[in-house]
């Protein structure tokens, strides 16, 4: 067992882990951060994406001991507690960028990282930017729309967390209603 120290979603933890423990297993099984999920065993699907020291990583490809001393942000800590929704979370909801929602936490964390590097990506830059994250439900079109919307909002408001925590289920204006 090796002792590690880590700050996760704003809380400091000190734990003993087996050297072989993956970061995602540490997050899920020792910290109860089950918002981050495991979708594959070959680092293809990206479901487990979190931010480590500000950059997106697939937490199944990082050993917990490698993150020792690091700062981790998961989907559960994307906005400070009580801070409402991140513009990316809001955009996924508003653009219907999720169906079953299993890939969503990783997809959102990857997309936030993408906009950090490229605040105004084109459609093809978005598609290439999230190609390390697989979704089986949406066909990606509404995920692309969501990232575009979030990018627009973040460019105009900066990294504000203005959205309320409750999702708004009003009708989506970009889709025509059926009489």
């Amino acid at each position: 067992m090796t002792q590690i120290n880590m700050r996760v979603d704003g809380v400091t933890y000190t734990d003993d882990v087996e050297p072989r423990t993956l970061l995602v297993h540490y997050l899920r099984e020792q910290l109860g951060k089950v918002g981050t999920v495991v979708g594959c065993d070959t680092s293809n699907c990206g479901s487990c994406t979190v931010h480590l020291d500000g950059a997106a990583v697939k937490s199944c490809t990082v050993l917990a001991v490698q993150a020792d001393g690091g700062e981790v942000t998961t989907i559960e800590g994307l906005t400070p507690h009580g801070g409402g929704l991140h513009p990316m979370q809001k955009a996924f909801h508003e653009m219907h960028g999720l169906q079953c929602g299993f890939c969503t936490p990783g997809m959102i964390m990857a997309a936030v990282d993408l906009l950090g590097e490229n605040p105004d990506p084109s459609e093809s830059e978005i598609r290439e930017g999230i190609e390390g994250n697989l979704c089986r439900c949406t066909g990606y079109q509404n995920i692309v729309r969501a990232v575009q919307q979030a990018a627009g909002e973040l460019r105009t408001t900066g990294n504000g967390h203005a959205a309320p925590a409750e999702v708004d289920t009003a009708a989506a204006p970009h889709v025509a209603g059926q009489a």
Partner: protein, 830 residues
């Protein structure tokens, strides 16, 4: 209770048809989810499954002693240990009276019949301890030859998948329109035909590949058991577990919490669900099993896998005269829940939207030493649609006709609905011409044809092709009497309950269990309109057999069509009961009451009205109800459809094919679907997008490949190519709306449309790009290698990889990753 004056005079906006954003999203975008694998129970033990590394063999010895002594290991159970209690995994669909079912133990006892079959289970205090101990179980196998190729499997003198059976045939199912009285004699039609085109199409094996790996938790409480499972079918699972294990049904509760996709892949009763229940019962402790992705790809059921021999007859003018389909359908090693039913569902769809006078369908269900096949998005209908939409293009080429003109000449006209087909189905409503016109406009058909012409003339190395698929499908599974006539083991109804709470809020209980489809939002819209209550005041409950005790769950585009219809009928019953209370309280006769916008008013008496919420409270208090009325306005309804519903649409794909490299790229994709009444356009569009992705993936990317020893060589997401965002195009989608008659909502179902329609459109487009270069077929998926080989070597591009490595039925492998080497270990060594 007094009349109220403050009701809004203006009618609230109708909810049905509104693009409501989903109620479900709040927990999913914040990580506040309840996936089965998230569950932790006090004292919970973890399971890991020891799996067969050989495709076919006798188990001669199992040594579990080292595993049993490993740290943290509580128990190791083999098939022999549970042989008397595990029963046989169920197959609910004996499609013929003489169908052969070899039986399917959850843990193999004497023999294994596919790679990945369970041979033992480790129970340990932690997941890692259980997984570590898997390596310590020593299993000896006497190898038997593996049966992997369907055509070889049905030949004379074939090796056997199960050596206790007489052949590799499970069933021979026939539908003959002449014999059924729905058409004329097929053989005569072909004998008289001016033109006959025959093709052999291969529907490759696919893997549903839902994103959430399967997971099961079982908690014993005395002689009661609660199972949480990542399943599409908690209700079916409960009944089947009771029948298989003997745990009485009323002692079992099954919960499907948040479920991360299914696509048919979680329409199953799995070995691991049975094993988890048996272990929890034996040890009296809660247990959890969660699969890895590799385990999922290797052992969760697969889909498709047919060889189709299709003959079409027509006259010289392009009037179709007959259709003959002979199908080999790979069952894999065993029959699972609805394995045999999948190709049989297709039997009624091969004729598509066309007016064939004669039709005959024959299908052999074939055993091979591979993981069983079962439902995957579309289940039988994509196979049928692919065959008919591909052969129509082939016939058009033979006749020198435009493929759309050939379709138009033969499809059912808008004024001919309802139309009974040669397969005996009565298509409900639609207009194929209008949908096609809209789709042609959406994609910019004329410009694309002009560009295609230009590229051909200039000898551009990148050629352009345009492919069409004008499809229909049967949805809303299913009328119980039809299922009965096809020997299915259950009905096709769905159940709903509506509970009016004292505060005016509404609980809707549905037996249709969602896993991403948005039932909570759409059902709220249905109920808001019918009861005149706010959308936000409706809560939809599902997925727990103790909360929603009756149901048939989610598959076959049935949820809205059947489950939603049950919700609507329950709402109508609530209003009927509330009307009695309202009449009593308003001192009016029921006939004089009008119910609009959630309130009863008395005709001709302005101001006298009662909201349904007030009636709910009055009923709760029960101080003043009509004589003899029980104090409840809650209602249940069970809806059994009279007929299937038949969504249709026209899908058009424009495809670029690089003739130098064989690479293909979808340039544009447009589709117009008619799914009947649209309750939520946002959700419908999302379903179409996701369906398209999976149908396109079959055409271009995905294939489950076995090597010559029966090892799945596409056992990870490195090799099994689920497309990423960069692999898929933008989709232009549209709708026409023809209500489904006989359905209280008018909805036809949308879950499978995109998948069913898109695959042939994509392949037709690729062929259209290179047909003038002599290519007449390319085997799916259209990998650059296959396309290049079809261009340069002729034929259909052949097997996926180079012969001798991992080809379908190809030469033998010398790879050390195979399991025929003594040193290999995948859960057990020789």
């Amino acid at each position: 209770m007094t009349a109220v004056e403050d009701r809004p005079a203006q009618a609230p906006e109708r909810e049905v048809g509104k693009a409501r954003r989903r109620k479900e999203d709040a927990r999913l975008i914040t990580g506040a989810t309840t996936w089965t694998d998230n569950m932790v129970l006090p004292g919970m033990l973890h399971l890991a499954v020891v799996r067969s590394p050989v495709a076919h063999g006798k188990i001669t010895a199992i040594d579990v002693s080292a595993a049993q002594e490993a740290p943290g290991v509580v128990a190791v159970l083999t098939g022999r240990d549970v042989a008397d209690e595990q029963g046989s995994l169920p197959c609910a669909w004996p499609v013929t009276p003489d169908m052969v079912n070899p039986g399917h133990p959850s843990i193999a006892v004497d023999e294994v019949n596919h790679v990945g079959e369970a041979v033992a289970v480790i129970v340990a205090r932690s997941k890692v301890a259980a997984q570590d101990a898997v390596e310590l179980v020593d299993v000896d196998y006497d190898l038997l030859p593996a049966v992997l190729d369907m055509e070889a499997a049905v030949a004379e003198g074939a090796r056997l998948t199960h050596d206790h059976l007489e052949s590799n045939r499970s069933f021979h199912f026939v539908f003959d329109g002449g014999e059924a009285g729905t058409g004329s004699d097929t053989e005569q039609a072909f004998a008289d035909a001016e033109v006959v085109v025959s093709r052999r199409f291969v529907q490759q094996r696919l893997i549903p590949a839902f994103m959430e790996p399967r997971s099961v938790v079982v908690q014993p409480q005395g002689d009661n058991y609660t199972m949480w499972s990542a399943t599409q079918v908690p209700h079916i699972l409960r009944v089947m577990l009771a029948m298989v294990t003997g745990v009485p049904e009323h002692k079992l509760r099954v919960v499907a919490p948040d479920v991360g996709g299914g696509f048919g892949g979680k329409l199953q009763v799995t070995p691991e669900e049975v094993i988890s229940l048996l272990v929890a019962r034996r040890l009296g402790k809660p247990v959890k099993w969660t699969e890895s992705r590799s385990e999922s790809l290797m052992t969760a059921h697969h889909g498709r896998d047919q060889i189709q021999y299709i003959d079409i007859a027509s006259d010289r003018e392009g009037n179709v005269k007959g259709l003959r389909c002979r199908i080999l359908a790979d069952m894999g090693a065993y029959l699972r829940l609805v394995s045999p039913g999948v190709p049989v569902l297709g039997a009624f769809m091969f004729n598509g939207i066309y007016k064939f006078p004669a039709y005959r369908f024959e299908c052999d269900g074939v055993f091979t030493n591979k993981v069983p096949t079962d439902a995957y998005r579309g289940a039988g209908r994509p196979e049928a649609t692919f065959a008919i939409e591909r052969i129509m293009d082939e016939l058009a080429v033979e006749l020198g006709m435009d493929p759309l003109e050939l379709r138009r000449r033969n499809w059912i006209k808008a004024e001919e609905f309802p139309f009974t087909t040669v397969a005996g189905m009565t298509y409900d409503s639609g207009d194929y011409e209008t949908a096609t016109q809209k789709a042609l406009e959406l994609i910019g058909y004329d410009e694309l044809r002009a560009e295609q012409q230009h590229r051909r003339e200039s000898g551009d190395p990148v050629q352009l092709g345009i492919g069409v698929s004008t499809f229909t499908e049967m949805c809303g599974l299913a009328p119980s009497r039809v299922l009965g006539s096809l020997s299915y083991g259950a009905g096709g109804w769905e159940q709903a309950s509506i509970r009016m709470l004292p505060t005016g809020k509404v609980e809707v209980v549905t037996g249709s269990t969602p896993h991403g489809q948005g039932h909570e939002t759409a059902w709220s819209q249905l109920v808001a309109d019918r009861l005149g209550v706010p959308f936000e005041d409706v809560e939809v409950l599902h997925g727990d057999t103790s909360v929603a005790p009756r149901g048939m769950d989610t598959y076959g585009s049935r949820s809205l069509v059947v489950g939603g219809a049950a919700v609507v009928q329950a709402a109508e019953k609530v209003v009927a009961k509330a009307r009695k209370v309202a009449a009593h309280l308003l001192e009016a006769s029921e006939e004089d009451l009008e119910f609009t916008n959630g309130a009863f008013s008395v005709r001709g008496t302005p101001g006298a009205q009662l909201a349904i919420q007030e009636i709910a409270l009055a009923t709760f208090a029960a101080h003043n109800l009509p004589d003899g009325m029980e104090p409840s306005i809650d209602a249940d309804a069970t809806f059994d459809p009279e007929n299937f519903s038949f969504p249709h649409g026209t899908h058009i794909c424009a495809m670029e094919v690089d003739t130098d490299t064989g690479a293909v790229r979808i340039r544009k994709y447009a589709c117009v679907d008619d799914v009947g009444t649209i309750v939520n356009p946002l959700i419908v569009e999302g379903q179409i997008h996701g369906g398209l992705a999976q149908g396109i993936a079959q055409a271009l990317f995905e294939e489950a490949v076995y090597d010559a020893d029966g090892n799945l060589t596409t056992g990870t997401f490195v090799d099994y190519l689920v497309p990423s965002a960069a692999d898929l195009p933008h989709f232009d989608t549209g709708n026409t709306v023809h209500e489904a008659p006989g359905n209280p909502i008018g909805a036809k179902g949308v879950g499978e449309a995109g998948t069913i329609a898109s695959t042939p459109a994509v392949v037709n487009a690729a062929l259209d790009a290179v047909r003038h270069l002599g290519v007449r077929d390319i085997r799916m998926p259209l990998t650059p290698e296959r396309v290049w080989r079809a261009l340069h070597d002729g034929g259909d591009g052949g097997d996926r990889a180079t012969a001798g490595s991992n080809a379908y039925g190809g030469a033998s492998t010398e790879s050390t990753t195979g399991v025929s080497t003594p040193a290999s270990s995948l859960g057990g060594d020789r």
